[in-house]
């Protein structure tokens, strides 16, 4: 018998963790001499009070959905993919190559090709750590961390020495041609008299991210492969007994994870920057960890958590603009969320389990 009803595990624990993180963040804001209530007000109006704010919130959320799904898929196979950052960087390289070196007649075909390129490059970057984990037993966490740094150096090399247009000092590629510019929310939802999402970077990739959430849900809970991934994640010995190959599952799960992280590049590189710059990922790969933990590795949870973090990112930028609170406050909140929903999970869980047991005894 479960110690707790399912809803408590899925809803109550993340919510309590979030409240704890919020209380601590409020204390931090108080400690640096600002007013937390005012800060929350500013964040809400800045991120959700206008279509412009929503345009940024959803843009960030798109990034986090991809990286969050990436971490979540790996979590289901009990693999901790810290390499989302590097995989997303490589995804950016894939997008840049597709967009720069091939002439595209229309953005829609280009989006398909760029998505494929991004996913391929991301998956390729996850393939080596996956192979080493599966075949050589090298710890996936360490290898993916190392691959983040190698990716950064590699991207730096490509941008400075190979892809930088002649005469440019900036370590970045040339701008992508007009034909591959993705439709933004502004062009999609504005009417002649009413301009919506003016200047905000949210674009059609948001819907690709939504689609990815649905596809991942179907994959994990409605396919044979998904079942095998979950079975392997629950018990390796059990999975082996059932004839599931650990090597195959490790590699396949990591390839899917890397592909999802790489896919983020259609949003930030193709949709927003429209060229590849250094540090285009801006840590989104790591936020994926917080998003996946918060969302309990379920695509719907990831969707909600990604929106929440999108709100935090846009709200944090507004805070930095209007108050003396620097943007790094978001990094602290992110750390607290990871801490409470990930590492200190038992701290919240143990007392709750006791409470539910006591209540059940009382009812009998």
């Amino acid at each position: 018998m479960d110690k707790m009803p399912k809803w408590a595990d899925v809803v109550l624990i993340p919510v309590i963790s979030l409240i704890l993180a919020a209380i601590l963040s409020a204390l931090v804001i108080l400690a640096i001499g600002e007013n937390p209530v005012e800060a929350v007000n500013l964040m809400v109006t800045g991120a959700l009070g206008s279509t412009y704010g929503w345009g940024y919130t959803l843009y960030y959320a798109t990034n986090f959905m991809f990286t969050g799904l990436a971490v979540a898929v790996a979590f289901h196979a009990r693999l901790f993919n810290i390499g989302g950052e590097g995989q997303a960087m490589l995804g950016g390289l894939g997008v840049a190559m597709v967009c720069l070196y091939i002439d595209w007649p229309h953005w829609s075909i280009a989006l398909l090709a760029a998505g494929l390129g991004a996913a391929l490059f991301g998956a390729a970057w996850a393939a080596i750590p996956a192979y080493l984990q599966a075949k050589r037993g090298s710890h996936i966490v360490i290898t993916t961390i190392m691959f983040n740094f190698i990716a950064a150096a590699f991207l730096n090399y490509m941008l400075v020495n190979v892809m930088r247009p002649q005469g440019s000092q900036d370590p970045a590629t040339a701008r992508f041609p007009e034909a591959v510019h993705l439709p933004t929310f502004q062009s999609m939802f504005s009417t002649a008299e009413n301009v919506m999402f003016r200047g905000a970077p949210a674009n059609i990739s948001f819907f690709v991210a939504l689609l990815a959430c649905v596809v991942v849900w179907a994959l994990i809970w409605r396919t044979r492969l998904g079942y095998e991934i979950r079975a392997y994640g629950h018990s390796e010995t059990g999975a082996v007994y059932a004839g599931i190959s650990p090597v195959r599952i490790t590699i396949v799960a990591m390839l899917i994870s890397g592909a999802l992280a790489g896919l983020m590049a259609i949003n930030n590189v193709m949709g927003e920057a429209e060229r590849l710059v250094l540090n285009s990922t801006e840590g989104a790969g790591f936020i994926g960890i917080a998003v996946a933990l918060m969302g309990r590795s379920h695509p719907f949870g990831v969707f909600l958590a990604a929106i929440l973090f999108g709100f935090l990112y846009q709200g944090g930028a507004e805070l930095a603009l209007w108050t003396s609170i620097p943007r790094e406050l978001i990094v602290v909140i992110q750390a607290l969320v990871i801490l409470f929903t990930g590492a200190l999970d038992n701290m919240v869980r143990m007392p709750l389990e006791k409470l539910f047991l006591a209540m059940r005894k009382g009812a009998e």
Partner: protein
């Protein structure tokens, strides 16, 4: 002769750059030998760097700064201990959280205290660790070969550099020649056996995590008060992860850790001095030097050149009764 002068300068800078790596690497050694994975070395160094520079800037005393740095690092260690030992949480996730916490808090507090865009004021005078001159260093600096080696390479570093290198034999002695060390290693291999012998697994692991905190604290203080004069945002720049790489490269052994850190320090020193290296037609770009520590570590991890096997109970929380 010109080559020799350059060599001495590069090696001198190697020692400076290897010091924070070595301290952090030994810190990780204690923790991981006791079965607690620590990918939060980076964060602990960063917070120590900030608090040491901040306190040194305010009080003008670098020693108080060092203490503050160690204290701050210990707080994060305690957090890691509570999460991964007491509440048996995921040690890797806890490490990730600690890195972000340090990265955010340092800038937040720096901005609130000093309003200089996330940095501390520059340190000078008693706020920094000054180089220590060995006796007769001036006198024999003119002697060929030995002179420069003694007076430039070995002499003239801050005290923390010498402490770091003395920590290597000390660590070896503690781990392999004392009862505490034996128990510490045992708790990383087979905690149940240690528990059966009536020794507290939790106590030993907390001790290891605390030692790790102290050493990371010294490493961070060295960065901000000796290598550089003050704290700047993200000043650890991945050193905690290079130290982690060195630890794997050294297969969790103190003397090897020193050589690994010196090697990675040398790579940093070369990258700093030469940028792109022209080897008669073949140019090695500077990015290769940046990536080399990580590539070497992956090769070692892959087990193609001597397999790296971590302590067996590493990463697993210990549950007393099943």
């Amino acid at each position: 002769m010109e080559f020799f002068v350059t060599l001495i300068q590069v090696l001198d800078s190697t020692i400076r750059l290897a010091t924070p790596l070595l301290l952090a690497c030994l810190a990780g050694l204690y923790s991981e030998r006791a079965g607690i994975f620590d990918i939060g070395l980076e964060g602990k160094m960063l917070i120590a760097a900030f608090f040491s520079a901040a306190v040194a800037a305010v009080t003008g005393s670098v020693w108080l700064g060092l203490l503050a740095g160690i204290g701050a690092s210990l707080v994060l260690s305690a957090l890691h201990g509570v999460a991964s030992i007491t509440f048996r949480g995921n040690q890797l996730i806890s490490g990730v959280a600690i890195n972000f916490l340090a990265s955010g808090l340092t800038v937040l507090i720096a901005q609130s205290w000093f309003q200089q865009g996330g940095r501390t004021p520059s340190l000078f005078g008693g706020g920094r660790f000054e180089p220590i001159e060995f006796p007769f260093a001036e006198a024999i600096s003119g002697v060929p070969i030995i002179g420069p080696i003694y007076s430039e390479l070995l002499s003239g570093h801050s005290i923390l550099v010498y402490i770091a290198f003395l920590m290597v034999p000390l660590t070896w002695w503690i781990l392999f020649r004392t009862r505490f060390g034996l128990r510490l290693r045992a708790v990383g291999e087979n905690p149940a056996a240690v528990d059966t012998a009536g020794v507290s697994v939790v106590g030993l692991r907390f001790a290891a995590v605390a030692i790790c905190g102290v050493l990371c604290g010294i490493a961070g203080a060295y960065l901000a008060t000796a290598l550089q004069a003050g704290f700047v945002k993200e000043m650890t720049a991945g050193r905690g992860f290079i130290a982690l790489a060195a630890l794997i490269f050294a297969k969790w052994r103190p003397w090897h850790a020193m050589w690994a850190c010196l090697l990675f320090g040398l790579l940093q020193a070369i990258a700093l001095r030469f940028q792109n290296i022209d080897l008669g037609g073949v140019v090695i770009p500077v990015q290769v030097m940046d990536a080399l520590p990580y590539i070497l570590t992956v090769v070692i991890l892959a087990g193609f050149v001597g397999k790296a096997i971590p302590p067996r109970a590493g990463g697993e929380p210990y549950v007393k009764e099943r």
